[in-house]
């Protein structure tokens, strides 16, 4: 009896030895994101999926990926997984104009993996910006090139932003063509004289380079906003700061002006560009109530906008969530719509083969307060927080320690070697 059992046991042991290498599941993925609610509007996905990443790319999206196949596995139950957020309006030329702030610190910590610098530099200053900042950022920093060669060095008396001689269309087009993978279009901003020179030259540069145009516009007598969006701008061009105080988007009864609808009809895109002066609850709330929503939600993040208005991208998204947009609408504005607006639709989704730029968001409930550009307060009940950011497959932000091990579980470690 004993011998018989022993024989069986020996057989089983041998069988196990043979089977082990056959059954053992090989590690396939560098990183698996499990159990999160995947919201990928480009590919029509909203549900619980697992995402497998190898190197810098997503290679698998499916109902279930076994944990044993991952070198690292992160459980994202209770989190929303979206394409890396795209902020199409910020200022990151930290070696240049003083409004600029650090891209990585202000983007990655807020779920933003692609940020568009909106005209901080121009044809004369872009190379320095590229060398100094763009090439050294983990964030994918793209650019809208200022039609003003010097970039954003002021629109006060004698400032280059009012100087038509600084607006060299050919030079701008040449720079766009030199860096087609970085420069997505042209920006015009802050121009004070009451003529159309800045806008028209920017439109021409965008047309000649076949790229997008973003316009920041201060109406003047004889240079009306209505003419901007109905005549001067082309379909696909973006008006930023459209909830701003200087933009006549509402009539005296707070009704959205008919030319706003007409402009939208002809393909003009409306971007938030919160900044220090361009989000007012007293304007945005009535507009949203009438159904005039933004095409894209962006921050215009710069030195002062991050202070009292605290206008990071997740903060601006939360403001719109609490002003009446749905969570899905808000996410669409900073992923699918934003990617389309800058003609980088390749960055809009989480499909197999896509670069692994991913935001992990937490939709928090409670009481949250938000300040607008005029420091009016909105009290809301939901907040969007970026818990984790993945850029090209790397976890670059992990506020909740989701990818981290508990220190007491890993054995001794020391810097002293």
């Amino acid at each position: 009896m004993f011998r018989f059992h022993n024989a069986i046991a020996r057989c089983l042991a041998v069988a196990a030895l043979i089977a082990a290498p056959l059954c053992a599941q090989p590690v396939i993925y560098d990183l698996i994101l499990q159990n999160g609610r995947v919201l990928d509007q480009k590919n029509g996905r909203d549900g619980h999926y697992d995402i497998g990443i190898v190197g810098e790319r997503i290679v698998k999206v499916s109902d279930h990926i076994p944990a044993v196949q991952g070198r690292k596995v992160v459980d994202l139950a209770d989190y929303v997984v979206t394409p890396g957020l795209i902020d199409i309006h910020g200022h990151f030329d930290v070696g240049g104009p003083s409004l600029s702030i650090n891209a990585d610190h202000n983007c990655l910590r807020n779920g933003v993996t692609t940020a568009v610098d909106a005209g901080t530099s121009g044809a004369k200053t872009f190379e320095r910006f590229r060398e100094h900042t763009i090439e050294n950022s983990v964030t994918r920093v793209l650019a809208l090139l200022n039609i003003v060669g010097a970039g954003m060095y002021g629109s006060g008396d004698g400032g280059p932003e009012n100087d038509v001689k600084e607006m060299d269309v050919a030079a701008a087009v040449a720079m766009v063509k030199k860096y087609p993978n970085i420069i997505v279009g042209i920006k015009t901003a802050h121009y004070q004289p009451a003529d159309w020179e800045a806008v028209d030259r920017a439109v021409k540069a965008a047309e000649d380079s076949n790229t997008v145009l973003m316009v920041d516009f201060h109406p003047k007598p004889g240079r009306e906003y209505k003419d901007l969006v109905l005549k001067h701008m082309k379909p696909g061009n973006i008006h930023t700061h459209f909830y701003g105080r200087v933009t006549p988007q509402l009539d005296e009864n707070k009704k959205v002006e008919s030319y706003m609808w007409e402009a939208r009809q002809r393909g003009i895109l409306f971007d938030v560009g919160h900044g220090s002066g361009s989000l007012w609850f007293r304007i945005a709330v009535p507009a949203i109530q009438q159904g005039f929503l933004p095409d894209t939600i962006s921050t215009d993040i710069h030195t002062s906008s991050i202070m009292l208005p605290h206008a990071t991208l997740t903060n601006v998204m939360s403001k719109f969530l609490n002003m009446g947009m749905t969570f899905e609408q808000v996410v669409e504005c900073v992923t699918k719509n934003a990617a389309k607006a800058i003609r980088r639709y390749d960055l809009a989704g989480l499909a197999e083969g896509d670069i692994a730029d991913i935001a992990v968001l937490k939709l928090e409930r409670g009481q949250f307060e938000f300040l607008d550009s005029g420091r009016g307060k909105l009290i809301g009940d939901r907040n969007i927080r970026a818990a984790m950011t993945i850029r090209a497959g790397d976890v670059v932000w992990d506020q909740d320690g989701l990818a981290a091990e508990e220190w007491s579980n890993v054995g001794p470690y020391s810097n002293f070697k």
């Binding site: 009292l308 420091r375 320690g401 990818a403 981290a404 220190w407 020391s414 810097n415």
Partner: protein, 246 residues
């Protein structure tokens, strides 16, 4: 000597060479200018320097050793018995200050746990805030204070070591570091929140705790500069056609 109000002392850092040159010259500069010295060091086996001599013979009372919870900076913990080294207590007694200097590489849970288990806490809490330390370990000031509290420090001590003690260390007390009448209005307000907080160290290892400090508002020289709960401002529906609410 040209900017005595701005320059509070001398710093030596990152010196990987042999011998005491960097530290000696810093202390000489400190002596000549009448200022403190902050030391960031490396203790490889071939530096010809050791922690005991550094703390007991080189550093002067009032000098600061930063990065105390990095075991490659200063040997706070004995590798043999896991206890705080006797010369560390002795150095503290003679007035040498120990500073956290969290940074990207200088806060490690194993070192911090061994030290605090033995009752050794940094005199001053500081962040060594820089481009990478705010990403991985998120070493902002409240995060560093939260970590000290996770190691058993009381809230009161954490505040003391982030206000009064550092102000004294840089010889700016009581000009800053208190809320006395007549002082410049530099004020912080924060909350002690209950929740789940993952506190990360230099090795991307976490300690999960249930209490964290959350920023609420900051006043600098009487001006409200950060107000995350909008406490200083009215609800927009009650503000009319507001332009810029002061």
């Amino acid at each position: 000597m040209a900017e005595p109000d701005l320059i509070v002392g001398i710093k030596t850092a990152h010196f990987g060479g042999y011998g005491w040159t960097a530290i000696d010259r810093s202390i000489e500069a400190g002596n000549l200018s009448g200022k403190l010295v902050m030391i960031d060091d490396k203790i490889f086996t071939n530096t010809g320097r050791n922690s005991k001599e550094k703390l007991l013979e080189k550093m002067r009372p009032g000098d600061i050793h930063t990065h105390v919870f990095n075991d490659r900076q200063v040997e706070i913990i004995s590798r043999f018995n896991g206890k705080v080294q006797p010369y560390v207590w002795e150095a503290r007694k003679r007035g040498v200050l120990f500073d956290l200097g969290h940074g990207a590489g200088s806060f490690m849970w194993p070192v911090a746990h061994s030290a605090t288990k033995d009752g050794f806490y940094p005199d001053t809490i500081s962040t060594d805030l820089h481009s990478s330390s705010i990403m991985g370990p998120k070493s902002d000031m409240l995060n560093c204070m939260t970590k000290m509290m996770a190691l058993g420090m009381s809230l009161e001590e954490a505040v003391m070591r982030s206000t009064v003690t550092p102000a004294k260390a840089i010889h700016k007390f009581p000009e800053i570091g208190t809320l006395g009448v007549g002082k410049e209005a530099d004020i912080a307000a924060f909350k002690v929140d209950e929740g789940v907080f993952a506190l990360m160290d230099a090795w991307k290892k976490k300690k999960t705790v249930t209490q964290g400090l959350i920023p609420v508002l900051t006043v600098r020289a009487g001006k409200l500069v950060v107000d995350l709960e909008g406490r200083g401002f009215p609800v927009w529906t009650e503000a009319g056609d507001y332009v810029s609410i002061p």
